[in-house]
């Protein structure tokens, strides 16, 4: 091999036509850009989170529980405080808040502060430096949204429970916020004393109790955790250090980042497929020239090397541009994801990410170009003399086998490294290969069908257009893969989204309750009913909530069950399931989101199939368990569970197991008791009502605050707005990344159509010579592009439909419905795009006289 000659040859050859491959390299550029941006962004976020760990929590450590901290923990805190540790108490609850001035009412988060939280970071307020006034002066601060929702301004008062507080400032930004948290309900900030006198923290409220510590000495806080771990384990109080929280956060963000990385990889591999098909066409064009070079005495490896060098050089250029583009994109990501990121992210150019991007880009370019380039080394010199001479194909060329193995190995390796976990990466790689194989198979099947069944009675230009899909050296497969992959990704996203929105409509839509009342006392139910508009009374759903704890299963206490060394660890009941506080209920009928999977319902209705065994409860209380919790508690039909129901002991027997569609927004329960046994246990009631008219709904809520200040009302239309806003943010992020794949697909399309343009131009000229009019030539082209676009999308959308039909019920646990409109829109968009790109590239064909085209020597 003569390396010097190979290099010179590479430079000279690259002047002719290899530039066309450059279009595909642009697809690699996009892939590299996505990867570099995502890698650097990942590093940025991890670094920022670690740097800001204490600011994120606002403290060095935190105790937290969803009921008042038990005495054992309060003692610990008191002794810390006595030892000089800064302690701050933050209690958050949901409550109806009324603005007396406007008369408006909203369910808001009420956050009460005592002490100096946050110890780190600055809370921005208007007017400035107002944070802390609420804790000291008994005034209120609010999120800006509260002002607009309740139509008040600074200086007006708010009624929170039984007390009235003036609003003195708005909170613009808190360092501890994860942005989206306020989407659930904007906050009102008051003092601990205000909250206590408001009387909101009655039984059953949705409250969180937190105590924050300032312990800058890392050793001290680790020692603290060490010392009290056994005390804490006996309670349901969580104790967390700032660094743990930052660690968890950066872990989950790293997971997200790696998931995004896979999307980038998709774009890159798409570019690889494009490169392979472009190089294949290029090689075919260069065969005569290669044959001549071989005649003149160049050996096969020299010529081959010249072309590999070209591929690597273009890969290098493509990746270099990709790194620059990626560095720019890196700056866009924090802006796009602003609401979702926990900390302000500072961007920093990451040399490691850039180097990895260039390396991966060049490698993908070479490994994909290698297989078609191998043909170069087998071009026989004889072909220079006899064009139609075809050398006998070597069936098992070890080089070819090696190249294919390298390609496969690369795909698996890249996926494995990029993915959040190796196993996920392998699954992704397999899924990618299967998708590509299926796309190819579907495209192949469709072309066969088209060829076989296309009506011979169709007009000639239409038939010619369709048959052009099968012209020798056609790009049908690579275009189908590129566009099909894009259509597949976008189609799947849209189908999944459509089904999720359907489910929301089932929960919130026509005829569904839209107001949830909670913390209702049993003796308030009847008078509350009369407060409702008459039309809402009939459909009112009343559900009691009974707070309960498990005291024993089959006579054994949770502690005994957990420490039984006779049972393997994984077969013991789960700790959280034993210790948690249950919100149970009693009711006579199965809910609409429930189906029996074992045993019989109270009225004797058996579960489907032969699992509907009848179990007698004897004198004990029959109870029905949700299947998941039954599994976690390791109980089945006939087992007895002892409960503490508001201080009252209750012995129950499991007589049925239910499957519950949790995604339905309605009250669902782990355990349902048969009515008639525990109906008098201490309980609160939740009520679901439907008040379609918004003004009536507002009137009702206003009256409610006056008559029953303890009852909270949640307006589902607000919840739906919040969910919509989160969904749209996620959609933006996904769309942004899908854009890379889509753009890569379009580039492959542009390249593929450019590759076959010469041939197409010649055919058009020939048709004109034979007497075809302009419209006839145009019809041929139009049909071809339309058929190509349709073929590609049909394959991609068919796969998208199958993938979402599998994913929607299994991953998202929601019923799948086909949404034809988005599919049609995608089809229209892709077919239109193919037409536009194709016709734009064919303008010259129609302008130039046929003689000029025919004169050009073919090949």
């Amino acid at each position: 091999m003569k390396l010097g000659f190979a290099l010179r040859l590479a430079v000279r050859e690259s002047r002719h036509g290899f530039r066309r491959v450059g279009v595909y390299m642009a697809a690699i550029t996009l892939g590299v850009a996505a990867l570099v941006a995502i890698h650097s962004f990942r590093d940025d976020v991890a670094r920022s989170v670690q740097e800001e760990a204490d600011v994120l929590m606002g403290a060095d450590a935190r105790f937290e529980a969803n009921r008042p901290l038990p005495d054992s923990v309060t003692h610990i805190i008191d002794s810390l405080s006595a030892a000089g540790v800064d302690v701050s108490r933050v209690t958050t609850t949901l409550s109806m808040v009324l603005a007396p001035k406007s008369g408006d009412v909203r369910l808001l988060q009420v956050q009460a502060l005592q002490g100096g939280f946050p110890f780190y970071g600055e809370v921005e307020t208007t007017p400035a430096h107002s944070w802390g006034r609420h804790a000291r002066e008994g005034v209120a601060l609010v999120d800006p949204a509260v002002l607009t929702q309740l139509q008040i301004s600074l200086g007006d008062t708010l009624a929170v429970g039984r007390v009235r507080v003036p609003v003195v400032a708005t909170v613009e930004n808190t360092p501890t916020d994860l942005g989206y948290q306020t989407a659930v309900g904007p906050r009102v900030y008051v003092s601990q004393a205000t909250l206590d006198s408001a009387g909101l923290l009655g039984f059953g409220s949705l409250a969180r109790y937190a105590v924050y510590l300032r312990m800058p000495d890392e050793g001290a806080r680790h020692a603290l955790r060490q010392r009290y771990s056994s005390v804490l384990r006996a309670t349901d109080v969580s104790f967390r250090l700032a660094e743990d929280q930052a660690h968890r956060l950066s872990n989950s963000i790293r997971f997200l980042g790696r998931f995004l990385g896979l999307v980038g990889l998709g774009a890159l591999l798409l570019g690889g497929i494009g490169v392979a098909s472009a190089v294949q066409v290029y090689v075919r064009e260069r065969r005569p020239a290669v044959a001549v070079l071989r005649c003149l005495g160049a050996d096969q490896w020299t010529v081959f090397a010249a072309y590999v060098v070209q591929a690597a050089a273009l890969g290098l250029i493509g990746s270099g541009v990709g790194v620059a583009l990626g560095a720019a994109t890196q700056r866009v990501l924090p802006v796009l994801l602003a609401g979702v990121l926990p900390v302000p992210v500072s961007t920093r150019f990451s040399p490691a990410a850039a180097a990895a991007g260039v390396g991966i880009g060049v490698w993908v370019a070479v490994v994909f170009a290698f297989i078609p380039l191998l043909e170069i080394k087998d071009v026989p010199p004889l072909q220079a003399l006899r064009q139609d001479f075809e050398p006998p194909r070597r069936r098992r060329d070890p080089w070819r086998i090696g190249a294919y193995s390298a390609l496969l190995a690369s795909v698996f390796l890249l996926c494995g490294v990029e993915a959040p976990e190796t196993s996920v990466g392998l699954v992704f790689a397999v899924a990618l290969l299967v998708t590509v194989a299926l796309l190819a198979a579907v495209a192949w099947g469709l072309t066969r069908l088209t060829r076989r069944f296309f009506p011979t009675r169709a007009s000639y230009p239409v038939r010619q257009g369709v048959s052009n899909l099968f012209r020798p050296h056609n790009q049908t497969l690579s275009v189908t893969l590129a566009l099909g992959f894009g259509a597949f990704v976008v189609g799947t996203v849209m189908q999944v989204e459509g089904s999720l929105l359907d489910d929301l409509t089932v929960s919130f839509g026509q005829g569904r309750p839209n107001v949830l009342l909670f913390d209702v006392q049993k003796d308030q139910v009847d008078s509350l009913r009369t407060l409702l508009p008459a039309s809402a009374r009939a459909g009112l759903e009343v559900t009691p909530l009974i707070m309960s704890r498990i005291t024993a299963i089959d006579g054994r206490t949770p502690a005994e069950l957990r420490s039984d060394s006779m049972i393997p660890r994984e077969e013991r009941p789960r700790r959280w399931a034993l210790r948690r506080e249950y919100r149970n209920t009693y009711r006579a009928k199965l809910g609409s989101a429930e189906t029996l999977v074992a045993g019989r319902w109270w009225d004797g209705t058996p579960a489907a199939g032969d699992s509907g065994r009848a179990v007698s409860a004897g004198d004990l209380v029959p109870v029905s368990l949700e299947e998941g919790i039954a599994q976690d508690l390791k109980v089945g039909l006939g087992d007895t569970i002892s409960w503490n129901v508001g201080g009252m002991p209750v012995e129950s027997v499991v007589t049925s197991i239910r499957h519950v569609e949790w995604s339905r927004l309605q009250p669902n329960f782990f355990a349902i008791f048969k009515p008639g046994y525990i109906d008098d246990a201490p309980q609160t009631i939740i009520m679901l009502a439907r008040i379609p008219d918004p003004t009536r709904r507002a009137d009702f809520q206003r009256a409610l605050v006056h008559v029953f200040p303890n009852v909270s009302a949640l307006d589902f239309s607000r919840v739906q707005e919040a969910i919509d806003s989160v969904l749209s943010r996620v959609r933006t992020a996904v769309t942004f990344l899908a854009l890379f794949s889509a753009l890569a697909g379009i580039l492959v399309l542009v390249g593929a159509l450019a590759t076959s343009r010469l041939q197409r131009t010649r055919e058009g000229a020939l048709l004109k010579t034979l007497g075809a009019r302009r419209t006839q030539v145009l019809t041929v082209l139009f049909t071809e592009y339309l058929a190509l676009g349709t073929l590609a999308t049909a394959a991609g959308l068919a796969l998208a439909w199958i993938a979402s039909a599998i994913m929607v019920p299994h991953v998202f646990q929601v019923t799948f419905h086909t949404h034809p409109v988005p599919l049609l829109v995608i089809w229209g968009a892709v077919a239109g795009l193919t037409l536009a790109v194709g016709l734009a590239g064919s303008r010259g064909l129609l302008r130039r006289p046929p003689l000029a085209v025919l004169r050009e020597v073919p090949e």
């Binding site: 048959s467 012209r471 048709l767 010579t769 034979l770 007497g771 009019r773 003689l851 025919l854 073919p858």
Partner: protein, 242 residues
């Protein structure tokens, strides 16, 4: 006259400079005659043929083909005219690679649109050129000579009044080339077509009624060839040469 060209000129611009390729060509071709155009490479033979068929527009002059002034028509009208009355055979065959032999022959018929019996006419023509058993083969599956025979069948499919052939044997070996020309002559006689053929091969040119010699874009000679021209009453008195 079947073809009348008057004051035909073609000038290309090459590298910013005008490059005259054809100068002041006057030519008349009688119906049903067989004219050979010869000349060294680059003398403008293909350019002339293209202009006579209306595949390109001259810089000056006019062409009247079968009574129709070609360049008074729009490009589409010229295409329609070709579909009705002109046939073409190329040096490099120019079959559509995506169509079978039969489909290739059908193209001019289908471009003209409709009518019954198209298929049987195409089949007949392919039989005539000896490819009755290769009708459903694609061009890539045919040898060069076979491809050119398909092209011949295609050229005669629309029963043209005039047939242009640009070095139809240029890419074939001598024997195959001779067979193609024999076939061309036979079809020409049967269909009473006017034939204008560019060729390099003096022996082939000798079979024409008349030889037009081009050099440097000008007609330098225009002579009767070995074969006698058809008599004035239009009957063909020429016997095929051995």
């Amino acid at each position: 006259m079947m073809i009348v060209a008057q004051g035909l000129e073609k000038t290309y611009t090459s590298g910013g400079r005008p490059l005259p390729v054809l100068r002041d060509i006057d030519l008349e071709v009688a119906p049903e005659s067989f004219v050979a155009v010869v000349g060294p490479s680059g003398s403008g033979k293909t350019t002339l043929l293209g202009l006579l068929a209306g595949l390109d527009v001259p810089s000056a002059g006019r062409v009247v083909l079968d009574g129709q002034d070609l360049f008074a028509l729009t490009e589409d009208e010229r295409a329609g005219f070709r579909a009705e009355r002109v046939g073409f055979v190329f040096q490099t065959f120019h079959l559509l690679p995506t169509l079978t032999a039969l489909e290739n022959v059908l193209v001019p018929l289908e471009l003209r649109g409709g009518g019954r019996g198209l298929r049987s006419r195409a089949t007949e023509l392919l039989d005539h050129v000896g490819l009755g058993d290769r009708m459903h083969h694609y061009p890539a599956q045919l040898s060069g000579g076979e491809q050119q025979r398909v092209a011949l069948a295609r050229a005669f499919a629309n029963q043209p009044r005039i047939l242009f052939a640009d070095e139809p044997t240029g890419n074939l070996d001598q024997e195959t080339g001779a067979a193609i020309v024999a076939m061309l002559e036979e079809l020409n006689r049967e269909a009473r077509t006017t034939l204008v053929m560019v060729t390099h091969d003096q022996a082939l040119a000798e079979r024409a009624h008349r030889i037009v010699r081009l050099a440097g874009g000008c007609i330098v000679a225009d002579e009767e060839a070995g074969a006698p021209a058809p008599s004035a009453d239009g009957t063909d008195s020429a016997a095929p040469r051995p």
